[in-house]
Structures are given as structure tokens and as C-alpha cells.
Amino acid sequence: MADGVKITGIPTMEELKATPGLVSDQRFEKSAVAVIECVQEIPCNPCEKACPFGAIIVGSPITNLPVIDEDKCTGCGVCLAQCPGLAIFRVEKNYTDSTSMVEFPFEYLPLPQEGDTVPCGGRNGQYLTEGKVLKVKKTKQMDGTTLVSVEVPKQYFMDVRTICRKGGSK
């Protein structure tokens, strides 16, 4: 079965690694950072304007893929709620010795509560692991898009991207 974003709607790890929105392995080790999973040249650039540190460049034409400057990115997460494609995540690989933090946009009800243990899923919505909800951010500026961060076992830092929704299937 063929793979890739055009077939499944999910970018493969190869597609992700080929984009300029993914930082180096070394950068992941350091601190929290934005992960821009935008692999197609679509006309869109709010992420560029959103970043207060100038760490995301789209430039002209606006179909360019966003380029992340891993030294400038502070992992603040302001860009997450500004991406209309909900394709930016915030990852802190070394949240603790054994866990990582993953933050993602979540536009569904009910919202989880901080401290909840929730089933966390991958890009296909399938269950991967239990995670602990660290924060649920909802501000006026985010315009309805809620950001949820979860603490998950470290091995899942590049896999967990959502809370599993009931009714999800393969």
C-alpha cells in the first residue's frame, strides 16, 4: 500500500524530515521547540507573522514551506494556535528523564482537565499510550483553538499528536 500525505493524509517520517520545519536531533535534546508538520506548498503564512522571535520564515511566494530557525525558536508555542492547518506542535523531548511533553491544538469538546490521565494517539488517531494532561490553554487570541499539553513516555515524543477521540477507528 502506498504511503505519504497524498495517500493517507499523514506525512511519513521521511516527508517530515525532508521539510525545513523540523529541527535537528540535537535541538530536540536541548529544550522545548516548535515542530512544523507542513509538508505541502500551500498558500499560507500566518506562522511567520505569529512568531515573536522571527524564527519562522515563509517569505515569497507564500507557498514556500515554513523554515524554522532552531536557534531562534524558544519553544514558546505562540505559533500553534495561529496555524489554520493545525499542523504545528510543541515538543519538549527531555521533559523529565523518562518523559516528554507534547502540545497540540485541540478543537473538540469535552476538553480535558489538567492532571487528567488521557489516551494519547498518533497522527492516525490510534491509541499509543496514556498521558498526563499538563496544561489546557485557551485565550481570546487563540480564537477558539485550545492547546493541550500532555506528558508521555519519552519514546513517543515524535508520535503522540492528539488525545484519542471516541469513535476513532483505523
Binding site: 478543537e107 473538540y108 469538546l109 476538553l111 477558539g144 485550545t146
Partner: protein
């Protein structure tokens, strides 16, 4: 079924009213089209075709396809997807091409 809580949209505060579907009272929201009030009450069959009596419901939702026409306050062939509800409105399943009732 009504969408009461929504992650993006504010609460729906449109006032409630009542319409009649085939003589039965059903709730409606001011300003909404007849079709939406019917769907909210689980009514999906709006009419029966003229020759074979096949069921039809809403399709296009913009007043183009006329699949959703019903008899409204005695007037047949009213496009329910673009006609707003009124308090006390009488909406009837339309059989075939419909006919004008005495009142209309």
C-alpha cells in the same frame, strides 16, 4: 439533534418557537429554515415522489434542487431549506406534486 455545545461557536441563543409537522407540535428556533427544525426533531422524509411514492429529503440546502419541497400553510412546493419558520406554521409531508389546501 441540536448542536448545543460547540468547541468554536458561541451558544445558540435564538428564541424558541413551535411549528406543526403533520399536525404534531415540534420545536423550532426563530429564523432557521423549516428543514433545519425538522432535522432537529429527527424528521428526514419531507415528501414522497409523484409516481412511485419514494421518500425524499433535503439535498442541496440552498434552494436549488427542490428535493426538500413540502406543503406549508396549505401551499405546496415550498422549498423548506430556504424558507424560515414562523410561529404556528403548519408543515406537511408533500405527496407527489402536492395540492393547494382550502385555506391557502
Amino acid at each position: 439533534m441540536r448542536v448545543v455545545k460547540h468547541p468554536i461557536l458561541p451558544e445558540d441563543t435564538k428564541p424558541e418557537m413551535t411549528i406543526f409537522f403533520d399536525g404534531k407540535e415540534i420545536p423550532a428556533k426563530a429564523g432557521e429554515p423549516i428543514a433545519s427544525a425538522l432535522l432537529a426533531s429527527g424528521v428526514r422524509i419531507f415528501r414522497e415522489t409523484a409516481k412511485k411514492g419514494y421518500p425524499r429529503g433535503i439535498f442541496c440546502g440552498i434552494g436549488r434542487c427542490t428535493d426538500c419541497v413540502m406543503t406549508v400553510d396549505g401551499q405546496p412546493n415550498v422549498r423548506t431549506c430556504v424558507t424560515p419558520v414562523r410561529q404556528g406554521m403548519k408543515v406537511e409531508t408533500q405527496k407527489g406534486l402536492g395540492r393547494w389546501s382550502e385555506k391557502a
